[in-house]
Amino acid sequence: MAEISIDVQNLSKLYHLGTFGTGSFRQDLQHWWVTNVLKKESPFFQAHRAKQDDVNTLWALHDVSFEVKSGEVLGIIGENGSGKSTLLKIISRITRPTQGVVRGNGKVSSLLEVGTGFNNELTGRENIYLSGYILGMSRDEIRRKFDEIVEFSGVERFIDTPVKRYSSGMYVRLAFAVAAHLEPDILIVDEVLAVGDTDFQKKCMGKMHEISQTDGRTILFVSHSMQAVNSLCDNVLWLQKGRIQQWGDASEVVNKYVSSIQKHCLKQEWKKMEEAPGNESIKVKSVELIPHLDDTFDVIDIRTPLTVRFQLWNLEQNSNISTRMLLFSYSGECIFTVLSSSVMCYRPGIIEGECLIPGNLLNDGSYFISFNFLKNTAIHLLDFNECLSFDMEDYRGDLKWYGKWWGAVRPKLQFSLQQKEREPFWLSSIS
């Protein structure tokens, strides 16, 4: 059994919220007076004990225990504010825990940001050294790897130019190049792959693979990209509100996590007509997005076909009703609009509609759906906006490329390559 590289026990971190102002100075003085001069226990401290979930405090981490084996790649996932960054900061010795202990063996280097310690006024060369030292490299190490770093970054021509004149891409590449050549026993990485162009991201992921697999180093890796976590990590730690939600095999935890954040926004339903959104002509009874999954814990990915189903109360007589469905990306760009067939309703009643979005059509990302309910295909009876939303996860199969897939849609089209007969030898010899 592999040795344990990091051992985390009952780790908790309490943050005080709110601003520090005149009040805090008075409180501090009072606290100091009571504890140090009168030798009593501080009233504030007692208050904390009595009411640990005080409005002004926040447990960013609460009783977190886990261990990482030597050579293991541990992914840490969770929503924003779940304590991922706090955990990394404690393990990399930037801040201290309120309670609990972290113990470990080996040299730790942390990459919580690209370009830590870079100074804009200095040249690329100076910055490689400065940043390298700050990240904990030795002089020999940097000297030995200097050429390699420069080559990896691809900024050879500008190495003696101040980095403030670099394009942002060059800056990031140089910064990451330094970081990528760290050789710690334990590497702590926070979402640094979300920078730079696709080509460079590919390079970074490749480097991460290389570090984790060939060199056998322990890595803690925080990311929002489930694709990256899935392909890199052995185990995954899922944090929620500062506590461990699940810790275990990567694909299992990732699937649970993704399906848990997707569940919320797939269905809206109103039982009573009076409470339903709408107006005197039309009211919405339900809207629902049904993914065609193999089992309920599975994840919506780009292959998944989706059915959109909705029900309306039509309150008018002799109304020719049709529906327009619009699909927007999360940035608000309209991906497509579809118009339903129209239905002639002679008297009030329930109308049901259904639309199938096939799999292998949308790109990965977050989407929302809006409806326009129309009369005579032109008059807007009701606009029902942003009522459904869903995330489409990436799926690459065996593809060895992890960059963002370009394009608004990602249809699977018939696209094939064939090798024709070999060129005649006299043609190839000319070139």
Binding site: M1, E3, I4, D7, Y15, H16, F20, S24, F25, K89, I90, I91, S92, R93, I94, T95, R96, P97, T98, Q99, G100, V101, V102, R103, G104, N105, G106, V108, S110, L112, E113, T116, G117, N119, E121, L122, E126, Y129, L130, Y133, I134, L135, G136, S138, R139, P162
Partner: protein, 283 residues
């Protein structure tokens, strides 16, 4: 399972007054050197005169002081030529001022780096101290040139003796006071920023409470003790006494100054080490 009882490192909620071990500081010596280098390079980046500013800045101050305090106000500088008198005061005061001002904002200015990567925090103020010390030595060389000029061409005869070799003591003690105050303040201003406004004003006033532009002998003998309560006073006088043979050096006051310097540095270092870890949460 191979349960190991021994761990190479441990992180818990108690911070120590002693901070990083010497071995760890030694491991980061190249970072220190690199930061000192950065401090110099960044200061003179994109200036036409470059490092010449290191000479130009005190020379311009010297010209101003000689003109205003020497000619217009007519402050006496004792038997010393005003140029030599002011220059020694200016470079020593600058050294104190920069040591203090440079370290007093350690946490605020480096919050970005401190919140992203670990290294012994004391390296940062230490790099400021080293930078200023090197700068002081370069300026001392300029003082030496002026000194020679006055001896050769102005018939200035200094009373030099073995006291000359004491002047580094004055420099170190002044630096210690500057850095000790700066470190203490960096911890306090990280939380209470309005303090730095008062402190800047205080430092400016302190200059007039220190014999920078006037000799202590300028004051009536029974009034001197007020100024001598300022621990910097005896050190400035010691500096001039060792260099030029003129100055008021009284042993009880000198001992008081040296003790004060050691105490301030100790308080500053201990406080900085103790509070350095938790301050990053509130800065």
């Amino acid at each position: 399972m191979a349960e190991r009882k021994h761990w190479e490192w441990e992180i818990n909620n108690s911070s120590s007054y002693w901070g990083a071990s010497l071995a760890e500081l030694w491991a980061y010596r190249h970072l220190l050197a690199s930061l000192v280098r950065k401090n110099f390079l960044v200061n003179y980046q994109q200036t036409i005169l470059g490092p010449a500013w290191m000479f130009l800045q005190p020379i311009l101050t010297l010209a101003t002081y000689t003109l205003i305090f020497g000619r217009l106000v007519g402050l006496s500088t004792g038997t010393l030529p005003p140029v030599l008198f002011y220059f020694s005061g200016i470079i020593l005061w600058n050294f104190f001022n920069e040591c203090f001002g440079g370290t007093a904002n350690t946490f605020r200015e480096n919050a970005q780096v401190f919140s992203k990567v670990y290294f012994p925090r004391i390296i940062t103020p230490l790099s400021i101290f080293c930078t200023q010390f090197i700068r002081l030595f370069i300026q001392l060389f300029l003082l030496f040139l002026l000194y020679c000029y006055y001896i050769l061409f102005r018939d200035f005869i200094p009373r030099l003796d073995t006291w000359f070799f004491v002047f580094p003591v004055a420099l170190l003690a002044v630096g210690s006071i500057g850095m000790g105050l700066g470190l203490t303040l960096s911890v306090i201003t990280a939380k209470y920023r309005d303090l730095s406004g008062f402190v800047q004003l205080g430092i400016r006033l302190l200059m007039f409470g220190t014999p920078v532009i006037y000799p202590l002998t300028y004051l009536a003998p029974d009034m001197r003790w007020i100024i001598q309560l300022n621990p910097l006073t005896s050190l400035f006088e010691l500096f001039r006494f060792s260099l030029y043979g003129e100055g008021v050096v009284i042993f009880p006051f000198l001992a008081y100054s040296l003790f004060f310097a050691a105490l301030l540095l100790a308080i500053g270092l201990l406080l900085f080490n103790k509070k350095g870890d938790s301050i990053i949460d509130i800065v």
